[in-house]
């Protein structure tokens, strides 16, 4: 294993000054974008903020409480539909955004309660979350009939609801945010969620979550009811995904069953794995890198986008175990640790590239017996 030391800090510590500088630079980077980028780029990037929150919701759960939920898209979709349906009924958007957060958290609360208090195993939790989002997708797709109406809004089945209202100014609801303002709101919300999650890790709650990730039984023996903490984390992530869903639906603008789909759920895994699990900035970077890359592949006329992405994912899982950002973050440490790299490379070659001799581990074990 390679341990990058130079830029590491422990998640339970208060962020150092340079972290705040980084966050400020990131904010400045986004806030200045509308001044020098074309409107269609701004429009495209507006979609990424909602996705980034979806990625953060999975990255936080997986990286810091050890809960591997493949179905964060369920709460993403609930947020998108919740916002759309309420805003269309009431004509008011600010409260509807809060409602989307609450709906995501509540959905996660109900599902999480049965999974976590039912003490199902980790792998079943992953499967059930995925099945849950697929069931919701199927359910929503089946609502094309006229009878599926909430208030005055038709759910519209396969086609989704295309009339998602744009956000308006909270203190002056008669004025709608324009494209630039929506971009800024999305960027600021994403950064606030990022800061919030990062600071949560420094609280007792966050520390206990990391304890549960490290060793759940030990944490219980120390007197923590791990179930309560896990449920709270699951609901928090559900709320973040719900917020992401609302922003995403507004940015398209469309509330669509795709939000719950298997393809979307797979995207989330990509973002987090490529960006780097075990960090919070990784999932965000994963969204921007991959979605941008996808767009670029499209313009290059590459037909097999999915295939190329699959190859990228495999490359990352095999070579950069920790994902893009942690790997970059440990570069300074790596330079000091060149021997470890050589070792790692040799190990990699031995494990994955010596075809004829087969996987070395198995051969060794069989070799013991005549």
């Amino acid at each position: 294993m390679i341990h990058g030391v130079a830029l590491m800090q422990h998640s339970s510590e208060r962020p150092k000054w340079w972290w705040w500088v980084f966050v400020a630079a990131l904010a400045a980077f986004f806030i200045t974008m509308p001044f020098h980028l074309e409107i269609f780029v701004i429009l495209e990037m507006s979609r990424f903020f909602g996705m980034a929150m979806l990625a953060l919701s999975m990255g936080f759960l997986w990286g810091f409480s050890g809960i591997l939920s493949f179905g964060q898209t369920a709460f993403f979709g609930l947020g998108g539909y919740g916002f759309t349906v309420l805003a269309l009924n009431t004509g008011e958007t600010t409260g509807s955004v809060f409602f989307a957060v609450a709906l995501g958290a509540a959905g996660a609360g109900i599902l999480g309660y049965f999974m976590i208090y039912g003490r199902i195993s980790e792998i079943y939790l992953s499967v059930i979350t995925l099945v849950f989002t697929l069931i919701l997708e199927k359910g929503i797709r089946a609502t094309s009939g006229d009878q599926y109406v909430i208030g005055k809004v038709r759910l519209n089945g396969q086609n989704g609801i295309p009339t998602v209202p744009q956000l308006d100014v909270p203190w002056n609801p008669s004025v709608q945010l324009d494209i630039n303002w929506f971009f800024w709101v999305g960027a600021v919300l994403m950064i606030l969620v990022y800061i919030g999650l990062r600071l949560i890790l420094t609280t007792p709650f966050g520390r206990v979550l990391v304890g549960i990730r490290e060793n759940e039984r030990r944490t219980e023996l120390l007197g923590y009811d791990a179930r309560r903490y896990k449920l709270a984390a699951f609901m928090l992530a559900g709320g973040v995904a719900g917020l992401g869903g609302a922003l995403y639906a507004i940015s398209i603008p469309l509330a669509h069953p795709e939000m719950f789909s298997l393809g979307r759920a797979a995207d989330v895994i990509m973002w987090v794995l490529v960006g780097g699990k075990g960090t919070l900035i990784g999932p965000i970077a994963g969204v921007f890198a991959i979605e941008h890359f996808k767009g670029w592949l499209g313009t290059q006329g590459v037909g097999q986008v999915t295939l190329v992405l699959g190859a990228v994912l495999i490359l990352f899982v095999l070579v950069f175990h920790k994902g893009l950002l942690p790997s970059i973050g440990s570069l300074p440490g790596l330079w000091l640790d060149r021997a470890a790299i050589r070792e790692q490379l040799a190990e990699f070659v031995q494990h994955h590239l010596t075809w004829r001799s087969g996987p070395p581990r198995r051969r060794r074990r069989q070799g013991g017996r005549p």
């Binding site: 422990h10 339970s12 007792p204 520390r207 206990v208 990391v210 304890g211 990730r213 490290e214 060793n215 039984r217 030990r218 944490t219 219980e220 023996l221 120390l222 007197g223 923590y224 009811d225 791990a226």
Partner: protein, 246 residues
């Protein structure tokens, strides 16, 4: 066992305790009582059932039959998180710590439920001093030597300030010097806390033992002072050739 124990003096007790794994009776009917303030050693050859008994005392596994009473209350079906809240501190045979976080964070997680967020900091400092772990405070636990990890875990148990501490083979894998320090520490902690130690190492048991309970094939074979245990013929036979008890 000749001694009559007054009820209120008993902190931990088992009644007709049994545990079967499939067809194997790991524990086959054990009546056991521990007085407040005692330092009790549980010994016995490998497979005698010590760890199984230990896990039932600490509600980590459920008995097939019988009761475990802590302060007169049956805890055999308690939740793991309730155990430490009752005042029971546990160190299992296999080191059970957080490898991915620092020594400081490990101790803090142990101190927090009992002392609250603020006082936990002071407690961590206190433990770091008592166990002389200050130098490795910010190191990841996974990077430490086996003996040091055992000590950190011991510190975590101390941070709970439990009424009773149960240790399963606390010196496994330790150097002689570390073992001696552990023995001294156990005696010191015993001034305020009841302690149960499961051990293999006879040398170590001689250093700390008060009353010794010998397990054999899931039952209590003998229970007495160390001197008398060493003279006990049945015990000698069980141990013959395996460890230099005499």
């Amino acid at each position: 066992m000749s001694e009559v124990v007054r009820e209120d003096a008993v902190i931990l007790e088992t009644r007709a305790l049994e545990k079967r794994f499939g067809g194997v009776s790991a524990i086959a009917g054990v009546d056991f009582a521990l007085r407040r303030g005692e330092l009790r050693c549980l010994i016995g050859p490998n497979g005698a059932g010590k760890s199984t008994f230990f896990k039932m005392l600490t509600a980590q596994i459920r008995p097939s039959k019988g009761q475990v009473l802590f302060d007169g209350r049956d805890i055999s079906r308690a939740h793991p998180h309730e155990i430490s809240r009752l005042g029971i501190g546990i160190k299992n045979q296999v080191p059970d710590v957080y490898d991915g976080i620092t020594v400081d964070e490990n101790l803090w997680l142990a101190a927090h439920p009992r002392h609250g967020a603020r006082a936990a900091r002071a407690k961590v400092d206190d433990i770091l001093d008592r166990l002389e772990l200050r130098d490795i405070r910010w190191q990841l636990l996974g990077a430490l030597a086996h003996g040091q990890r055992q000590w950190v875990e011991f510190g975590m148990v101390m941070a709970l300030e439990p009424k009773i501490i149960l240790l399963d083979e606390p010196t496994a894998g330790m150097s002689i010097e570390e073992t001696n320090r552990t023995a001294a520490l156990i005696r010191e902690v015993n001034r305020t806390t009841t302690i149960v130690v499961v051990e293999h190492d006879m040398q170590f048991i001689r250093q700390i033992a008060d009353i010794v309970t010998v397990f054999h094939q899931g039952r209590i074979l003998a229970e007495d002072t160390m001197a008398r245990i060493q003279a006990n013929q049945a015990v000698r036979e069980v141990y013959l050739g395996t460890s230099g008890l005499a």
